[in-house]
């Protein structure tokens, strides 16, 4: 079986087209999303908690609303809730205007809460908010108090959209390549009578398929490493968790999609048909399982459909481990679902497989 695995790897390496496309498509998307950071331009968000309820405070909110690219969100329901939103990155800034701001005997400054995601932008926004607060106060008082604005920085997990998408792309690359590659290869082997040729040798035929699967698993690992390396070293993606924990997720996911590839090869009558059917399976799954966008934004019952796809638990586990530093124990539900998919798709593959 080892010589066969080695031969399979040789064939994969020499079949430059396959290997190229195994990496090309996901890498193009890595580059595209790396360049296209939707959070760097366009809007950022700020919420105001106005407990002063003075004309000066009202004027300040109004001026903030006039700043381009700044979207003023609804009040988050308390300072504590607002701070949590900022820490999680769901809200970029929180401005707390306390009672006594620009009114009364003792001057109380406003507080701007920011997170550590984008220091450059923080400087800019602080400057703008400070200037507005000074203008507002000068309209009320004759002299400027020593501090009109205090700033507070919350350490945040730096989860950028690109980080999320990068792990989507790892899953997507492995999924599309495993399904299409195995479907086309097996269909091709059947057409060329290679499967039959194997059956007339004393090689137990399970070893033939095992060697095929091992070579594909090796390719999946190469895919994951290359895609992550480009994301991290070229586009500065952040991996917070233990990279080694990604391994079982990648392997379980690959096994599911290889099984699906075997099933597709049983349906297809030619390698071209295998490629077509493989794409038809892989592409909708790529979008609906949340490679690029959160499935929670899908309408109606579609989020449930999306979660039922085998790519969804794989992506969830990858992101939990890499971004939110989950241990393998913490992602056991996802791993269990993946293992269930492996077993289920293997049963179907064995049932429907045909040699000629």
């Amino acid at each position: 079986m080892l010589p066969l695995t080695v031969a399979n790897l040789k064939m994969l390496a020499r079949n430059r087209q396959t290997t190229f496309w195994a990496l090309f498509f996901p890498l193009v998307l890595v580059v595209a999303f790396g360049l296209f950071d939707p959070t760097s331009f366009g809007s950022f968000t700020l919420a105001v908690i106005d407990e002063a309820q003075t004309p000066a405070a009202g004027q300040m909110t109004a001026e903030l609303e006039g700043i381009p690219n700044l979207r003023v969100e609804a009040e988050p329901g308390g300072v504590q809730a607002g701070r949590r939103l900022v820490a999680d990155g769901a809200l970029d800034y929180l401005l707390f205007i306390p009672p006594g701001f620009a009114a009364g005997e003792v001057f109380v400054p406003a507080t701007l809460v920011a997170n550590t995601q984008d220091e450059g932008r923080n400087q800019l926004i602080e400057g703008i908010v400070r200037r507005i607060s000074e203008e507002v106060i000068l309209g009320e008082a004759t002299a400027l108090p020593p501090a009109t604005l205090v700033t507070e920085r919350l350490a945040s997990r730096q989860v950028s959209y690109f980080d999320l998408v990068l792990f989507g792309l790892v899953g997507m690359g492995i999924m599309t390549n495993a399904i299409i590659s195995i479907a086309v290869r097996i269909s091709n082997y059947r057409n060329l009578s290679i499967l039959k040729r194997m059956l007339v040798t004393p090689l137990p035929i399970w070893q033939f398929f095992a060697a095929e699967v091992m070579a594909q698993l090796a390719l999946a690992l190469v895919q994951a490493v290359v895609i992550l390396a480009v994301g991290v070293f070229v586009f500065k993606a952040q991996i917070n968790g233990n990279v080694l924990y990604l391994l079982p997720v990648v392997l379980l996911g690959s096994l599911i999609f290889l099984n699906i590839g075997f099933i597709v090869s049983a349906w297809a009558n030619s390698p071209a048909a295998a490629s077509g059917i493989g794409n038809a399976v892989a592409f909708p799954m790529m979008f609906f399982a949340g490679t690029f966008f959160s499935t929670a934004t899908l309408p109606g019952l579609l989020p449930y459909v999306a979660d039922a796809l085998p790519l969804a638990p794989m992506l969830a586990a990858l992101r939990e481990i890499a971004i939110y530093e989950a241990s393998l124990g913490q992602v056991w539900p996802e791993l269990a679902i993946l293992a269930g998919w492996v077993a289920g798709t293997a049963l179907v593959a064995i049932r429907v497989f045909r040699f000629s």
Binding site: R14, L192, S193, I194, K196, L199, V200, T201, P202
Partner: protein, 318 residues
């Protein structure tokens, strides 16, 4: 001499269709045994049962003294198989393919020696798709020898080859036999069966209709000669009557599918002659009496073509 293959009462049904219908034969060690028949006669199915690719519906097969049901794995280790349409991995060189196939067997031949034996010594680093049709076919024969087998089974080894490549392959198969390997092959070419096989089974519609040496098969049949007349105009009734009256003539048939060459514009008639001592004299006499103008006259000895026709009532066509 021991028996390389023994097939007894073999039946293979696919639903209501019987592909192999009570077939029995024995292949002796060291011989080249041919199975001759048209497409769909059941040749490939019979071979695939011997190779362990298909299970028989009834009957027994033993290969090299091993029972095909109980010891299929051991049989596979000791025989070499060339499938009818066998291609190989696209991205491996010939040497690598032979090495890989060899790794599945306990006993294995040296890839470069195999390539040398089939005249592909300089192609070890080439890929299969860089070979000509004849070279590919020789390579599949080499691939059937990776385990230094005692028996090789070749399914239509020369189908689709030009005459030159076919003769090269015949020489190769003869060479394999000289090295002591038993050869079983199927073919639907009469001249191939006559040139290569020591013994021959003629198969039609799932049954074996005769087994013998090619010479014995030919001498066994009623026809001795086929006389071929080529005339510029169709024979009139007056002209054909003296021919039909010759006692030895079995049949007069007009061959509408004329072969090529000088006979293209003529009208071709084939007369099959009985096995009687006077047959040739009588027919020459009949031709003179008919007064027909001849463009061409051929007297051909009986061939396996005639054997097949007589045994099955059908022409053997590709």
């Amino acid at each position: 001499m021991f028996e390389a293959i023994r097939v007894e009462g073999l039946v293979k049904r696919f639903g209501s269709f019987t592909a192999v219908d009570d077939v029995s034969f024995v292949v002796m060690a060291g011989e080249i045994f041919g199975i001759l028949g048209p497409n769909g006669a059941g040749k490939t199915t019979t071979l695939e049962i011997i190779e362990g690719l298909q299970k028989p519906s009834a009957g027994r097969v033993s290969v090299l003294g091993l029972d095909s049901r109980r010891e299929a794995g051991r049989i596979k280790g000791r025989i070499g198989v060339q499938l009818q349409s066998s291609a190989y991995f696209n991205f491996l060189s010939l040497r690598e393919i032979l090495h890989l196939l060899g790794s599945f067997y306990p006993r294995r031949a040296v890839p470069d020696e195999l390539l040398e034996q089939v005249g592909l010594a300089d192609k070890g680093s080439s890929r299969v798709n860089q070979l000509s049709g004849g070279q590919q076919q020789r390579f599949t024969v080499a691939a059937s020898l990776v385990n230094a087998p005692e028996l090789v089974i070749l399914d239509e080894p020369t189908t689709g080859l030009d005459p030159q490549a076919r003769h090269n392959l015949w020489a190769l198969i003869g060479e394999i036999q000289r090295r002591g390997i038993t050869v079983v092959l199927t073919t639907h070419y009469m001249e191939e069966a006559e040139a290569l096989c020591q013994r021959l089974a003629i198969m039609d519609q799932g049954r074996i209709v005769a087994i013998d040496t090619p010479d014995n098969l030919i001498s066994r049949i009623e026809t001795t000669y086929t006389v071929k007349l080529v005339t510029p105009a169709p024979l009139t009734e007056k002209q054909s009557r003296p021919l039909e009256r010759v006692a030895a003539v079995q049949s007069v048939s007009q061959d509408l599918e004329a072969p090529t060459g000088e006979t293209r514009d003529g009208h071709i008639y084939q007369l099959r002659l009985d096995k009687t001592p006077e047959a040739l004299n009588d027919i020459l006499d009949g031709i003179v009496r008919s007064g027909v103008t001849l463009k061409h006259l051929e007297i051909l000895p009986a061939t396996l073509e005639d054997v097949f026709l007589e045994l099955t009532g059908n022409e053997l066509r590709d």
